[in-house]
């Protein structure tokens, strides 16, 4: 066992009846790392969290957290990790403060003892501490749930889709909080369906339908994108999308915000420039006068879609 790895997974399989929730997942997550599981619904992220938090038994394979086996040493693991499930698991009829106090005592500690760890987060909801948790907004529930998961100063923090359904501003604030927690030496495993959040992680695993597609740093994953990526813009974007797809040299084309991201079948550097000039001629012939084409660096989302077979 590598000492610097806080989480080890090797060959983990898990089925629910006929559904393969996880297929041969192997991962090493280093101590102090902020590690992201990136993938849409049904990727198997929640199942993976439940196996690591000892709530589910894997069908086969080995997993350990803090050097402890998830099957054999589940009691010790439960003492040392913090877990925030997908739905913010709070008692709706208890107030903010009562929820926090409750989870503190459940973990044999007090709010005062670890206040410095949660202060940053809790201070934002403290003005509402007598409000029932059920009456909080999504962003505030998220902060309270995080405070509750942190109150016992866990060595590893498991956050299952903490930002789902939360608006972009609150999401950025949340990731800022995670950065500060990382500085305190806590290993964090976090999952998200938002691809743009991947760049906030030290390393990520791209997941889809129970399989791990790729594991690397965000930059590493982006560097594996082999094709030239073009951003194409024009005034009538929907027509442009259809025309770009009809272009013979197109490998794939997807709408990406204000531009369409286009990859070409041609992969050699020499061939590309002639295909691009061919594209310009093609679009002019279609009657576009305002087209802009520029070469761009791929985002994680581009990489994810490239790894995924055509749906």
């Amino acid at each position: 066992m590598n000492k610097s790895n806080t989480i080890n997974l090797s060959g983990i399989h898990k089925n629910y009846g006929k559904v393969n929730a996880l297929q041969d997942i192997s991962l090493d997550i280093k101590s102090g790392e902020l590690f992201g599981l990136i993938g849409p619904d049904g990727a198997g992220k929640t199942t993976l969290f439940r196996i690591l938090t000892t709530l589910l038994l894997p069908d086969s394979g080995k997993a350990s957290v803090c050097g402890l086996d998830v099957v054999r040493d589940y009691r010790e693991i439960r003492r040392r990790v913090g877990y925030m499930p997908g739905r913010f698991s709070l008692y709706q009829d208890l107030t903010v403060e009562e929820n926090l106090t409750f989870f503190a005592t459940v973990f044999n500690t007090t709010i005062e003892e670890n206040y410095d760890l949660i202060r940053d987060i809790y201070i934002q909801i403290e003005p509402f501490k007598t409000r029932k948790a059920g009456k909080l907004s999504g962003g505030m529930k998220q902060k309270l749930a995080l405070s509750c998961a942190l109150i016992h100063r866990p060595e590893v923090l498991f956050l299952d889709e903490p930002t789902t359904g939360v608006d972009p501003v609150s999401r950025v604030e949340f990731w800022d909080m995670l950065d500060r927690l990382k500085q305190q030496g806590i290993t964090i495993l976090v999952s998200t369906p938002y691809m743009d959040e991947a760049s906030r992680c030290d390393r990520i695993a791209l997941m889809r339908t129970g399989k791990c597609l790729s594991v690397d740093t965000p930059a590493g994953i982006r560097s594996t994108f082999s094709r030239l990526l073009l951003a194409v813009r024009s005034a009538s974007m929907y027509r442009l999308l259809e025309d770009l797809r009809a272009f013979p040299g197109t490998y794939s084309c997807y709408a990406f915000g204000d531009a369409h991201h286009l990859t070409l079948k041609e992969e050699s550097d020499a061939g590309v420039s002639s295909v691009v000039s061919g594209l310009e001629t093609y679009l002019q012939a279609k009657g576009y006068t305002d087209v802009s084409i520029e070469s761009i660096k791929p985002t994680i989302e581009d990489c994810f879609m490239a790894l995924q077979p055509e749906a």
């Binding site: 938090t53 589910l56 739905r87 005592t105």
Partner: protein, 376 residues
């Protein structure tokens, strides 16, 4: 221990903040007692009676007066013809018709005819037996009067004194009050409802909202979770037991013949059985709805139907009689009747107590074994 107390406090918050549920739980025993005590009583009261008196002598007049004066009957009408009585039966105006034969007083054993509306057979039986009782009582009294008269007059004959009339004594419940039967039944029902249903729903709710996941991934011992969930309801059901006992004592005049401490002790034992059943249900059900349904079908129905609370067990088919043995409420109700109504001591109910204790042990073992430390 601090964990446990904190958890317990949280449970009380849940209960106290859900005002509607708490109100229902506290009001339920009161409503049930009042309902059983007054509304759906099985006792006979103010039954409408008509009389067809073909003899119209002193004896029949005295009997009719007696019937009319009793709290069970009310004289609706004295009839002139048999047909008239039939019409009244059909209209539902009367439930009993007394027909005195001509020259009733002079013929010593001329029968009185009792006609009862037997659409409700149990009631008809009761009505006729009450009426018979009143008539035979009057006969007995007249007999002793006449005996006294003949004793005073040496020339009289002593023939009549030779007749032996059985004297019926109703033990423990001389007034045949229904309350003696249903108060233990209601206690059995309420305890089962609160302890089993509320405990199972309480635990399953945590599964539903996802907090169970967090609790499992904490150093909190499962047994603490279970105990903390159960304790408030045990307390609440004790409050209810005391309410029921007070209501039945002061409102329905049901005496508490035996030891109150013993009564409470049996109730706690029975509540433990119910709590364990609730726990067992919570390990099976995954939604609050399912927990409620299972509780209703598996727990409530047997208490109502198979415990002897409503239907006498002796009248059931053998298979149901056998089945009734695994209904905890049956043993509880027997024990409560023995202590509360008959005033028996602990020695007399050892059998019931050991059955309940055995159930507790089995259920605790099974449900703690089944209580999952993981999600599946």
């Amino acid at each position: 221990m601090k964990q446990f107390i904190s958890f317990l406090r949280k449970e009380f918050y849940h209960i106290f903040r859900d005002k509607r549920t708490m109100l229902i739980l506290l009001a339920m025993p009161v409503i049930l007692i009042v309902l059983f005590g007054y509304a759906i009583t099985t006792e006979i009261k103010s039954v409408q009676v008509a009389v067809l008196d073909q003899s119209r002598d002193e004896a029949t007049t005295r009997i009719i007066d007696r019937i009319g004066a009793s709290e069970y009957f009310e004289l609706y009408k004295v009839l002139d013809s048999y047909e008239e009585g039939e019409a009244l039966f059909r209209q539902g105006k009367i439930r009993l018709l007394l027909v005195f034969p001509p020259r009733y007083a002079s013929s010593s054993d001329a029968p009185v005819q009792l006609l009862a509306d037997a659409t409700d057979p149990n009631e008809a039986t009761q009505i006729t037996s009450y009426a018979t009782a009143i008539i035979s009582q009057w006969k007995m009294e007249r007999q002793s009067e006449m005996n006294a008269v003949t004793a005073q007059s040496p020339g009289g004959n002593g023939q009549l004194s030779a007749g032996i009339t059985p004297v019926v004594h109703l033990l423990y419940n001389p007034l045949m009050k229904g309350a003696y039967n249903f108060v233990p039944g209601v206690m059995g029902l309420i305890l089962m409802l609160i302890c089993a249903l509320m405990t199972s729903v309480g635990i399953v709710k945590e599964k539903e909202i996802g907090t169970m996941e967090v609790l499992l991934v904490s150093p909190m011992k499962p047994i603490y979770i279970i105990l903390a969930k159960a304790a408030p309801y045990l307390l609440l059901s004790l409050v209810n037991i005391i309410t029921i006992l007070a209501l039945s004592y002061f409102l329905l005049d049901v005496p508490i013949a035996g030891s109150l401490t013993l009564l409470i002790a049996i109730s706690i034992l029975y509540a433990l059985v119910a709590l364990c059943l609730g726990l067992l249900i919570s390990t099976i059900a995954n939604t609050q709805q399912a927990a409620m349904l299972v509780s209703a079908v598996v727990l409530m129905l047997p208490v109502m139907l198979l415990s002897g609370m409503v239907f006498p067990i002796e009248n059931m088919p053998v298979i149901l009689q056998w089945l009734s043995n695994i209904v905890p409420a049956k043993w509880y109700i027997i024990a409560v009747k023995d202590v509360m109504i008959k005033g028996l001591s602990a020695g007399a109910i050892w059998k019931e107590v050991s059955v309940l204790a055995f159930m507790v042990v089995v259920l605790i073992v099974v449900s703690v074994k089944r209580f999952k430390i993981r999600l599946e």
